[in-house]
Symmetry: C2
Subunit: 333 residues, 2 copies
């Protein structure tokens, strides 16, 4: 591998000059620059990123920590982050937190040790204090899917409460009054917020929240299925005509249980989901759901960094609004 030294020799200039033309630096005459460029070309020179990082204390890498990599959720997000950053020649190092505080912290340490210039975090288990503290450190962080007031300008998030409201409101407007709910894990912020929105829509319509009709799932298809099984048992005592689930995967599991027991959807039961994952439109019936622009949020996190860390001139907005996508799984009573 040719080094900067080889280039300087061939071009008949000093190391510093070569370094200058590499870093877009001003103050190099066109002739000299061209000589250097030619020499680089001739030698097939590629800068050594480790040496650059060591000397400049800047790695051009950003760490991305997500809860999980599989599932329909994080792929699109990662895709946007990667492509946005890649355009500016930054690279992304990934780590997975598995929604566990210890693993999340461990991953943060890991990424920090790796010399990332910044961190994009989608973390659920770690405390607000930890993150506030982390944000005071030398390495900038951006949070996706989480709102913390003290560092709100670093948060890219969805108005989950509004989405929860929309889902239930939609059913109410269709005449439903008895609405069951399968929630996400009570530990997760977004799950809580979505449920709060659900309750707000209920109380606004003067219908009482029935805790017997609320099941806590874990966002998986499976828990949607078990939740539905539970709800079906309740149904004789506590009838309901619709169910909203805190994400699409749980709707999917729930519907499959209904179908198996011979029910017809949406005639016998209306469903509303959340997230609008790609499959939502291919499930039968096509899901009415709340759109979660997760890929846009990923992109925005990347842009935030480009703007605030690498000084690109970009507009960023932190808050995203959910939107109701009405398809076929919900009909008037």
């Amino acid at each position: 591998m040719a080094t900067i030294y080889d280039v300087s020799q061939l071009a008949g200039v000093s190391l510093a000059t070569v370094s200058r033309v590499m870093n877009k630096n001003t103050n190099v005459s066109d002739k000299t620059r061209q000589r250097v460029l030619d020499a680089m070309e001739k030698l097939g020179y590629r800068p050594n990123t480790f040496a650059q990082s060591l000397a400049s204390n800047c790695s051009n890498s950003v760490g991305v920590l997500v809860s999980q990599l599989d599932g329909p959720y994080y792929g699109p997000m990662m895709a946007e982050i990667e492509s946005s950053l890649r355009l500016e020649n930054k690279h992304v190092i990934i780590a997975v937190g598995h929604s566990d505080a210890a693993q999340e912290k461990d991953s943060v340490e890991f990424l920090l040790d790796r010399g990332c210039d910044a961190l994009i975090l989608d973390v659920e288990a770690v405390s607000d204090e930890y993150l506030i503290n982390l944000s005071k450190g030398p390495t900038p962080i951006v949070l996706i899917n989480r709102y913390i007031e003290q560092i709100s300008e670093r948060c890219i998030y969805l108005e989950n409460e509004v989405g929860g409201y929309m889902a239930t409101k939609h059913l109410i407007m269709q005449g439903h009054r008895h609405i069951a709910y399968i929630s996400g894990p009570a530990k997760k912020h977004d799950a809580i917020e979505r449920l709060v929105g659900h309750k707000r829509a209920l109380s606004e319509a003067n219908v009482e929240f029935t805790s017997a009709l609320c099941f806590e799932g874990d966002y998986s298809e499976e828990s949607g299925a078990t939740g539905m099984t539970y709800l079906l048992q309740q149904r004789s005592k506590k009838p309901f005509t619709a169910v909203v689930c805190a994400n699409d995967q749980m709707v999917s599991g729930a519907i499959s249980v209904c179908l198996e027991s011979g029910m017809r959807i949406p005639h016998d039961l209306s469903f509303v989901g959340y997230d609008n994952i790609p499959f939502a439109r291919y499930i039968s019936p096509k899901l009415t759901t709340v759109n979660n622009p997760i890929h846009e949020m990923g992109k925005m996190a990347a842009l935030w960094l480009l703007k605030n860390l690498y000084n690109k001139n970009i507009d960023v907005n932190n808050v995203f609004m959910p939107e109701l996508v009405i398809r076929e799984s919900s009909i008037p009573v």
Copy 2:
């Protein structure tokens, strides 16, 4: 940040000794070692990975290049790769090739420039020659989802042809004789192989391959839908009782078209998919499909590296066998 120098001062030893206890710990007296360890602890010392990489020419990072990050396919693979590598304190840098030769090459360059110790590649557009050549370079590569004879020991792949055979064979054993096929892109190796397997099952049963009943899709739900629309038009001239799709997403799109036109699945038409994506069991009807152990292949690629690059003692196997998963979308004629 404390440096190795600070540690050496506090411990009252030289730089070299500190370096020794960090690496392999050879030839350091227990007392000295402990003093150094204590000093590290006290200072909260963390090695600078750039300096390590620069001096040792080893980055402890591996580059992973995939065709895409979204979709149901690559998430599980990435998850396994990340966790396997992370266990050994290696980190993964991701890049996306978008099934385009130029972008794939560009990404390889990018990862190489980044000083990756090795590359895991899931590439489709780039030529065999390119990869063979790349494998002769200083940076080891492993291929996922691709078989190239000259570098077969570096290939982790699925017997796609066998899977294609299984899917169609299953239908034939259920009495189907007229079977339509929605293939993947004719450019992609796996798509070709799956189709070859289909044809083999057909000819083995003495049924002729009807090109009018074969539609080339692109692996997306959408193309499954358009493929199905096309096939339905053919049906009056060329009747068929079953269709096999080269992946589950296309089945999903195809089934939704049938459902919309009032057909009942599987009574009016049997379907078999490929890949066994997580959603396959939640779609209605539950998909009969060919299992593609993509996550295991990802893990195996990581293990391969651990074995061959970082000298871990691990057994690896390169070939994976598909398995038929019979569910509800296919029934006897």
